[in-house]
Symmetry: C2
Subunit: 229 residues, 2 copies
Amino acid sequence: MGEVRTIMIRENITAPNDRRAEETRSMLTKKGVLFINVMSSPGSGKTTLLTALINRMKDRIRIAEMDVDITSTLDAQRVADATGVRAMQIHNGGLCHIDADMTSRALQEFSTDDLDLLILENIGNLVCPAEFDTGAHRNVMLLSIPEGDDKPLKYPLMFSVSDIVLITKTDTAAYFNFDMDAARQRILQLNPDAVILSVCAKTGEGLDALEALLMKEIERVKNAAGING
Amino acid sequence: MGEVRTIMIRENITAPNDRRAEETRSMLTKKGVLFINVMSSPGSGKTTLLTALINRMKDRIRIAEMDVDITSTLDAQRVADATGVRAMQIHNGGLCHIDADMTSRALQEFSTDDLDLLILENIGNLVCPAEFDTGAHRNVMLLSIPEGDDKPLKYPLMFSVSDIVLITKTDTAAYFNFDMDAARQRILQLNPDAVILSVCAKTGEGLDALEALLMKEIERVKNAAGING
């Protein structure tokens, strides 16, 4: 079998992006706002899971969400309608990702002064978003059971850059041949520090653990800002 | 709610790509080889469906497959092992798509003289692959039931450029809230000429219709080449 290699064309553009991301992160750390960047394939259940999570947490902490999509305003509207928190839709003009500059420009229009948690729901894509630091403190990714346990082998960068990996739609495990142990091993081989949680927005499985994890991360940022939570 | 717009950065590179794609398409038409480009989200079931399809068709027609992935050789190996047809893995070096030049270079190493059907299994991504003509005669995309019926609204270009849309994993319809009529309407609004088929590799649903459709397309290419099938 043959093999074709091509060069990466994006390498030279990551340095300015990384500087801009660091500015955003530092600005939000100073305010004591935890910023998470949520990524996955299309249809892994980002909006559904985030809606459930926000509804559990919104009475204890102040939350806002930014949703990236090519043209539609579905997700921001769904989140705003279902949770009542502030939501903003970012249209990225057909691009396959959002970078630090787009995030930073969006944040100029979207006040972060009154927040504890800022959520960025990235565009559904396992390739491009992984290449761009958005300025988030933590990358969170979803791998849904129907997608299969081989995804870490096929999209390794995404799993390498994600601090928290959520295995979602666990209520469908009986329907699909998904080897949870194999998936965990493949993720940890790429990213030994990854925190892996099984979650399900429908049944509520794992949401307590995810909420506790995020509360701990918020506390960490508040401590870094010298704010007592 | 605010809105952020950014410019497209890829427009200037599509013209040379389109010329290169036309060369590939014309070369394959002359040989009477139907070339299809199969696209979808990660985990929609491309490899499983193509394996089932090839096994049904391989005794009647000559088939080969090219699989695009970032680093792994899983898919080409799976197809070769499960079907016995010639398969080639293309590593695209971390890019989010394959373009006409990469396809053309791969075909220099992969003879198409003895074929009736050449299948390109693209990388799992609903954004980037839609922007590049690979030289295929027909774009085929999969939308799996677990991804949800709203995907045409969120990834419109992919649905606009796909001649054939396969709604897959229909055996899981009872598990997921997927409105088939809404999905069909959204697809046809973007692409009134799209052929939409419901298929399931597990149960065999729709595979007869898909096979018949491809046989008709092969005949069309053979007629254009002046070859009597």
